[in-house]
């Protein structure tokens, strides 16, 4: 803007954005680096809602139950998974190649019996995605037997590799039948696990109930302390 002589000197309104731009890009880079996207879910599960707002701490076993009653098992710690698949491979004589083990480690959860594991993991990515719709799920029953109830085997094994024995999170589809959940709960019970979590969607607390009043008083209590 060239100024003509004699004109009233106006203040320039142009704000220098360079520093702001640098700064936001720096933050952006940090958050992009820090974000780890969720691994792709193997099966689609619609979780029921609850008023709970607790988050599960890291290092848990995820037992997924889909609406057809199939059970999937996963561990959210990659190092633990590596150790687990090595033990499973030796113990059950699966004969997995290092590549097949790596597929197990990177996929979010597994839903095949031990007898079909080699065949499932040797498929290529596209075929595996198709096969997931037809897999049988991990065999579960109400006994604590480690041979017929393969979920019990997975849980017992994984407990050795997770901090404090690992927490259990059950992600059950809202429309799955109660007997299927009951089977998982009794499998856990047989291993003396009585505390576990259900992954749920958030739901508001209804007004006028005991929990609502408790939350209200907690809120007013903390604000009066300030």
């Amino acid at each position: 803007m060239a100024k003509k002589r004699g004109q009233i000197k106006k203040k320039d309104t142009f704000i220098d954005m360079t520093a702001l731009c640098d700064f936001t890009l720096l933050l952006l880079t940090f958050f992009i680096m820090a974000t780890s996207f969720k691994p792709e879910e193997s099966v689609e599960v619609v979780t029921p809602g609850s008023t709970s707002t607790k988050e599960i701490p890291e290092g848990f076993m995820l037992i997924t139950l889909d609406k057809n009653g199939r059970v999937f098992f996963g561990v959210d710690n990659i190092n633990a998974k590596r150790a687990i698949i090595d033990v499973v491979n030796d113990d059950k004589n699966l004969g997995l190649t290092p590549r097949e083990k790596e597929i197990f480690v990177t996929s979010s959860s597994i839903g095949v019996p031990f007898s079909q594991m080699k065949g499932f993991l040797s498929l290529d990515e596209a075929e595996r995605k198709k096969a997931i719709d037809n897999v049988a799920g991990i065999p579960v029953d109400t006994t604590g037997s480690y041979t017929t109830n393969e979920l019990a085997y997975w849980i017992r094994l994984s407990r050795n590799y997770l901090d404090k024995g690992g927490r259990i999170a059950i992600k059950a589809d809202a429309s799955s039948g109660y007997p299927d959940v009951s089977k998982i709960i009794s499998t856990l019970g047989k291993q003396k696990i009585f505390t576990f979590s259900f992954i749920t969607d958030m739901k508001g607390v209804p007004e006028g109930t005991a929990l609502f009043e408790k939350m209200e008083s907690a809120r007013s209590g903390s604000s009066s302390e300030e």
Binding site: F14, F31, S176
Partner: protein, 181 residues
Amino acid sequence: MADIPNQKGKPPPRVDLTAMVDMNFLLLTFFILSTTLSKPKAMEIVMPYKDDEMTDEDRNKIKKDVALTILLGKNNKVYYYEGIGDDPNQYPDIRLTTFRDVDGIRDVIIAKKQKVEQLKANGTLKASDKATVIIKADTTSTTADFINILDEMTINAIPTYAVVDITEQDQEFIYEYENSK
């Protein structure tokens, strides 16, 4: 940068960064939100210790006045009756309700709590007695029902509840209730 004219007397070229900053903030917001929101929320439950050796005598320790039995049935139906339904001579008064916010199972639980408080006040029950809910899910109920009823326990601050397997007698109660209509 101040307006310093260059040798030819022209001002230096200036790029308007406003749009760029806008976009950066947008991306920044997205990444901040996606990091914090991806953690799943979970409801923690503690199942009662289940001992296969438990005798009927231990089960009947729950007093009849404090107990409310809830049966989960087909199509999100909820049946309930007072007591634990163990008296073979006396048929429990089974009622049907739903998970609705109004006139649902929640009102039943609240009423039960109040009743127990009343009985405590007039000395029928000891001060240490608490309203106890026994949940029996039928094989036709879904996980959503089960989670809902556990959530109701939290919502209504029921300190003691138990999840037990449904008995044949309870299944018969549901069957008879459905057929009596």
